[in-house]
């Protein structure tokens, strides 16, 4: 597959771009990576994603795709070496359900805990913990959401562990509780140890600095 035919517009610190990098790595796809300067978005990004003007954007044979979960499904359908989604429709539905749950119910309160203060922050942290506990039930006791190997939900939600920990460290409130969510905690650890996952995680110290800088703005 010629490198030029697949392009990814991303940002080093973005977990959403990270999802796509992981999926492309899993499928062994060569691609051209374009790092966007987010305060100063390129005309190319605005042309490829006029609706949201955000990264990540995957461009395949000049056709752009936005929204990381939509991109993951596309990657899964085009390159079939390592399926992200299971074959069974009911299992697929469960995977889509949990990926959406992570995005809609786990990510926003973690981000709110990061950016808010006082009571709003406490409320967000409580909501984050509750919803992470609910996410744990989706694991159904398995090692990964994908079973013995990484799948769609793992790639969609695995980064939350790292971000939640970092947020917890910065704001001084623990969001992932190994005691009340032992399976989720174990899953986050296992996920981050998978070689190709680890390979693409942004350097932790750089990420922590970046998060701390962002936090000062709030």
């Amino acid at each position: 597959m010629a490198e030029e035919s697949v392009k990814l517009l991303g940002y080093w610190g973005s977990p959403f771009a990270l999802r796509v990098k992981w999926a492309l790595k899993l499928e062994g796809i060569q691609y051209h990576y374009v790092e966007e300067d987010l305060p100063n978005k390129s005309p190319m990004l605005l042309q490829y994603n006029p609706v949201y003007k955000k990264i990540p954007v995957l461009v395949h044979d000049d056709k752009p795709l936005a929204e990381s979960l939509v991109i993951l499904e596309y990657i899964d359908e085009v390159w079939k070496q390592n399926p992200l989604l299971p074959i069974d429709p009911y299992e697929r539905a469960k995977a889509r359900f949990w990926a959406k749950f992570a995005d809609d119910k786990c990510v926003p309160p973690v981000m709110a805990a990061f950016s808010k203060k006082g009571e709003e922050q406490e409320r967000a942290a409580r909501e984050a913990r509750e919803n992470l506990k609910t996410l744990e039930s989706g694991l159904e006791g398995k090692r990964f959401f994908g079973g013995e190997t990484i799948g769609f939900v793992d790639i969609a939600a695995g980064w939350i562990g790292c971000w939640a920990r970092m947020t917890g460290e910065i704001i001084g409130i623990n969001l992932i509780d190994a005691e009340t969510m032992p399976l989720l905690d174990a899953w986050f650890q296992d996920f981050l140890e998978v070689p190709f996952i680890k390979e693409f995680m942004p350097p932790q110290d750089k990420l922590l600095e970046h998060c701390k800088e962002s936090h000062k703005k709030f």
């Binding site: 006029p50 609706v51 395949h60 056709k63 795709l65 936005a66 929204e67 939509v70 991109i71 499904e73 596309y74 359908e77 085009v78 429709p89 009911y90 697929r92 539905a93 889509r96 359900f97 959406k100 749950f101 609910t134 039930s137």
Partner: protein, 228 residues
């Protein structure tokens, strides 16, 4: 093999109607259970413990929640009359726009019709801003439709079903609140599409009665921002 398909829904909800539209399009028999959302049934809470919401599809005892997830499940389980195209890029496109409708359009439409109540001087300006936002969002959909009869091409697809909010509910919201959002002048293609959409048998049979819906909306949300 005897198949049991249950749909837990609410008569006025575009989300549960989506599920019924897809099942009707594919000719799948199902049992419908109307939920009283102020008094949710133990079954609903059992089948959707995470969100406790409708719609829920239960297929041979296995529950699926979230309307767009359900639509994909329906398409993958019953292969007649596919609602997603074969080409991966077209499929991704349909998913993108369906997500757009749910994440951006509905709340913007709501705000333009029944937004927060501001003091009189601000109200006009906030209302204008809300209407402008809806206009921008609808323009994206107008452009996406291009010259196609339906978003799905020659036949109704997943995106058409997801756009039921635009195709029917939006007109009802407008009438109930007095807002003018989907005008023929600005959105001729979308208006044509909406007219075609509501005529498709599987769709028509699954639209809540207009008067009943208007009465419900006015009762629940008031007369609306735009009414003078």
């Amino acid at each position: 093999m005897a198949e049991e398909v249950l749909v837990f829904g609410a008569w006025g909800s575009p989300f549960s109607r989506r599920v019924e539209m897809a099942l009707k399009l594919k000719g799948i028999e199902y049992k419908y259970i109307e939920e009283d959302l102020t008094n949710k049934s133990p079954s609903l809470l059992k089948y959707n413990p995470v969100h406790k919401k409708i719609p829920v599809l239960v297929h041979n005892g296995k529950p699926v929640a979230e309307s767009l997830v359900i639509l994909e499940y329906i398409d993958e389980t019953w292969k007649d009359h596919p609602i997603l195209p074969k080409d991966p890029y077209e499929r991704a496109n349909a998913r993108f726009w369906a997500k757009f409708i749910d994440e951006k359009c509905l709340s913007a439409i709501f705000k333009a019709c029944w937004g927060e109540h501001y003091e009189h001087e601000k109200a006009e300006k906030e209302h204008e801003k809300a209407v402008k936002e809806v206009s921008e969002l609808l323009q994206f959909l107008e452009n996406e439709l291009k010259e196609k009869r339906y978003f799905g091409g020659e036949t109704v697809g997943l995106l058409d079903i997801a756009a039921n909010i635009i195709g029917y509910w939006l007109g009802v919201f407008e009438e109930a609140s007095g807002a003018e959002l989907l005008t023929r002048e600005k959105f001729p293609k979308l208006c044509n599409w909406a007219n075609e959409f509501v005529c498709v048998t599987a769709i028509k049979e699954n639209l809540p009665a207009r008067d009943k819906l208007i009465a419900y909306l006015r009762n629940r949300f008031g007369a609306g921002n735009a009414s003078k």
